[in-house]
Symmetry: C2
Subunit: 245 residues, 2 copies
Amino acid sequence: MSGWIAVAGLGPGAEALVTPEVSAALAEASDVVGYIPYVARVAPRAGLTLHPSDNRVELDRAALALTLAAEGRRVVIVSSGDPGVFAMASALFEALEAAPEHAGADIRILPGITAMLAAAARAGAPLGHDFCAINLSDNLKPFAVIERRLRAAIAGDFAMAFYNPRSKARPEGFARVLEILRAGCEPGRLITFARAVSTPDEALNTVTLAEARPEMADMRTVVLVGNSGTRRVGRWVYTPRGVKP
Amino acid sequence: MSGWIAVAGLGPGAEALVTPEVSAALAEASDVVGYIPYVARVAPRAGLTLHPSDNRVELDRAALALTLAAEGRRVVIVSSGDPGVFAMASALFEALEAAPEHAGADIRILPGITAMLAAAARAGAPLGHDFCAINLSDNLKPFAVIERRLRAAIAGDFAMAFYNPRSKARPEGFARVLEILRAGCEPGRLITFARAVSTPDEALNTVTLAEARPEMADMRTVVLVGNSGTRRVGRWVYTPRGVKP
């Protein structure tokens, strides 16, 4: 029996946003590996071993998956959202690079609905034109890189989506992000704080940049910043498709 | 009977990438509105009226959907990929803004698997760190805006995804994009040309920037450009999660 690894995106939370491809992989799996709250979204069943692990141990988790697959197990690594967006796919390839004995592993990456697109859909279409996705966590990169990318995104008049905007461990980072935005964008720039979209805890709040406060975000929030043309129509926020010459 | 509009993302092509939420909306619909090849992906059935229309008539299509919903119809506007990424959601809100008589319309946006994430999953994880999505079509914006955004994305060392890279009508645009990339990035920068991902016509081709040629892309291609740290491991391309200080 030959083992395999599927790195699967569970989407933002609702079952209705899990693709049939991901559901099929979970139905065939012998083992599910992932961060505790994501593994908790997989229904237990006979023949399925769950391997929940803590945050910040992505490389250990990936190494476990490679070992299990080499033993012939059918392993699904679960990510929230899409596995290729600030999630487990890159971690698996880092682990693969460090473990040449697993070079022949049978790997598939199964895309999912990433948080920024689920949040944008609830708000309207704030990412309806060119946009950037930036991870504001400075666990794996210096804040100077975040700042450089923010300034570039402002210079390019991109709409922006921020992942991991704020944690208890570093509340000052997001305050600094708002300062940088205020220095480069007009005060009426629209910002949507989208928390836990598609779960029972969902909450959306759209404000102007002048009104935005750091405490409007937590680690379950995706922050969507419009470009200079983003506007409201009724309860919706959208970015027009075109830019006039 | 009260009508509604759902703007639904069909994903990149495969049925296994259509969310259950979108399938449910299509099952309840009385009318499906959209660009001809996307409407062709919806199975005909009794009680369902299909309204396929040509490209570049997005506002007419959105106005039709608003009119049908006002008549009590259950309308799904279909987009390829995700409706909020260079697709019909923004067009619907533009039409809504122009038609205040429809201000009370019951609208939902249903996210889908957007082309860049399906393509990234096939390639590995080239968008595994901060990235930009840029529409290279100059139908609705001057090329100077595209150029400004490209330069900003290079300055920020973002990975990039390009939608609509090349058409018969303007083959020179993508050649110019490659020139701009060559001026700002190292020749070994990895670029993946991902064509028609998840369809029978799927084709992936990863080359270096030095090897990239304009004719490697057409309008069914999404182009993924790595950041300065993007690399290969075996047949995969991935962008590491971190940036070393």
